[in-house]
Amino acid sequence: MRPWRVAVSGQSMEPALREGDWVLVLPPRRTPRAGDVVLVRDPRERSRLLLKRVAEVKDHGVVVAGDRSDHSTDSRHFGVVPLSLVLGRAALRYAPFRRFGLIPDA
């Protein structure tokens, strides 16, 4: 699997990710950990991709949440995301240049 280049839309992951950031997402080489920012398919509509932070790791999936809970639709609404829908871990912001940097797994 190749890395994904993903454009960010929305405000639920501010300040880690902002609208318009370009992000490199690496395919999962391990089970996600709490604190990872992950690219997942929306369980309600699988063609839609979401970027959220892992709040909790369950047996067969992850509970995800936006960093800004007042601006986020996440596991509170659609429940646990199965591991099969976790596409990778957001590792790096590569554009815009002034935002270049590793994505902290706070």
């Binding site: 280049r5 960010v8 839309s9 970027l51 609404h77």
Partner: protein
Amino acid sequence: MFGRLLKPRVTAYAHCDIPCGIYDPTPAKIAADTVAKMVEKINALDKSAMDFNNRNNFVRMVTVKEQHAEICKKELQVLWSDYFKPEHLEKYPKLHDMFWKALKLASKNKQNVDAAAAGELQAAVKEIADMFWATKK
């Protein structure tokens, strides 16, 4: 060059499904106008002929006045807590005071049938609406 090679092919959503940023002071204004209209209609009732039909009308007008004063409060509270941000407060230091007074006026209009108070509520809502539209420029 940089852009074309590295441009993402997909967009991922880090947001909420509910559209943000759809705020409008118009519902508060309509509610305040309705309150004023009900006060006007109640005052125009023929108080010497309160038959059942007139009493029915009276109760309905009071009910509508009560409901729309409440709608007005709710709409104002949403603007106050959700739309207006700290940077707006910097520009409009009277912001909190304006909302507080408008909400109090809405309550006053529940308690009374008072054309002057209804007019004050309309004016207070208009002031807030003007401030709202000024932030949109």
